[in-house]
Symmetry: C2
Subunit: 315 residues, 2 copies
Amino acid sequence: MHPFTQLFSASVSALGEEQLITAIRRWLGPVSPRAPFGVGDDCAVLPARRGRQLITVDPVIYGRHFDDTVPPRAVGAKLLKRNLSDLAAMGGRPTAAVLALTLDARVSRAWLEQFYRGLAACARQHGVPIVGGDVAQADGLVAASLTLLGTAAGPRILTRTGARRGDALYVTGQLGGSRPSGHHYRFTPRLDEGAWLARQPAVRAMMDVSDGLAKDLRALTPRGAVAALDPAALPRRRGCSLAAALSDGEDYELVFALAAAADHARFAAAWQRAFPRTRLTRIGRWVAAHRLPADALDLSQFAGYEHLRANADRP
Amino acid sequence: MHPFTQLFSASVSALGEEQLITAIRRWLGPVSPRAPFGVGDDCAVLPARRGRQLITVDPVIYGRHFDDTVPPRAVGAKLLKRNLSDLAAMGGRPTAAVLALTLDARVSRAWLEQFYRGLAACARQHGVPIVGGDVAQADGLVAASLTLLGTAAGPRILTRTGARRGDALYVTGQLGGSRPSGHHYRFTPRLDEGAWLARQPAVRAMMDVSDGLAKDLRALTPRGAVAALDPAALPRRRGCSLAAALSDGEDYELVFALAAAADHARFAAAWQRAFPRTRLTRIGRWVAAHRLPADALDLSQFAGYEHLRANADRP
């Protein structure tokens, strides 16, 4: 569905600001709390929470994270899910979100309604109130940026730091081909898996794969080490080349380090019991930089998604 | 300063994503905490806080909230100050912020550096760590959306709800002419004043004036009442018409309700001691809807800033 309309009467600017905000609250339904706990005051008031919080921000932009082939409901859900994936990667649970929208005045009301209804359905499913927002205008643009707050699901927050040489590398799901397959908006954020992994002491570091494994892994790799991946082990989506699996991006899977000394068979069995439907693959380990085995992948030969290119071609 | 460059070598896309993020952290300096408490992991970890939190989100967009006449340092500061003004309006103090940037690949590095340095200086002044962010690309755009977290400065959060018929209306500073005078980026958010007002039991409701008093006041006005403003009392900026003072927007002043029964002279004296340099004006009171005095302003004749217009002309 194309987000723009030629008909003024069908556009958001025909609705006007006040009616648009009223409509947005109706579209959001029960995930939009009343002011001052939601939209309608200068700030939203969040209930007190014990413990540390997590915060992340990610956008969806027309021509970049979605196009006319993606249903607007799926765009709204994707916006929240991208942020939920970041939270999952630290073992977090969502608590609240705010949404900044930047729209061309010709965006169609029908498109926007479906976008919000998709966002609301996903927010309801994950128990995330949408507590605040802003609508601004910019020519030619349909962009939404969501800031998500969360809290640790258990006693531990898993960061990207902590992997050691010798640790094994695991990845959930499959990699590559996210755009052609529709995975980039159909994916399920790995919240339960992330929370479970943060409770396993042998899991030392974790992140989500969003720009392609080859690029993202650099952030997880300990100093002086290099990831030795087994090319045959890499869980590729059907029809994907090795390069696609390593570089496509938008996988929204979890990659983590399991201590070398851990009982891997027992770990795999526990995973299987907890998540019988989520594939988990051991894809390699970290070795000293000068000891990369001859049959391991040379990740430096693969690029990942670059966020600032002169000529963008995504999606 | 114009944000775009014709020279590829001077653009953000020449810098590339990784170097850009490194540069941003350098430009932010001490207001950018280390991961996981700042940029560099999937989420940022926020320290535990007692009590309720406040959250708000507001953008700055090229062609709308700034143009080539506004120095990029001032644009960065304005982005934070707009959000601080929302926090001030509830009697809050800032605790942390995240920033979502959407840029054309041709944005100049020099422009962006000044933008971030201006943001950093303002953040340092107000003790706001910039804990997270995202950089995305969109053609023709320079937009930044900031989500600000805060906490109540005292025991009470002041909302827009609570004014009653008979209450007096007060406004800080001067109204109108924000764009031609440069007030729209030079203003000081009324954080100290907002915190002080939230501690006065006789102050019943408050908000900041951002879309023009005529429009904004509707949100503060109790049901069945109407604001009776004295046109002669309205604090207009030099050279401003009454219509400009009521409709221009971007005033970033506080408007609040003081209980009719309060000792207004004593209140004004206390204000004068606390804020000798911030003008405070009693501009009217709320009356029953059918009892608007003949000499009071008819606010329904004035519009405010509309955020979604087919033909935008701001700034």
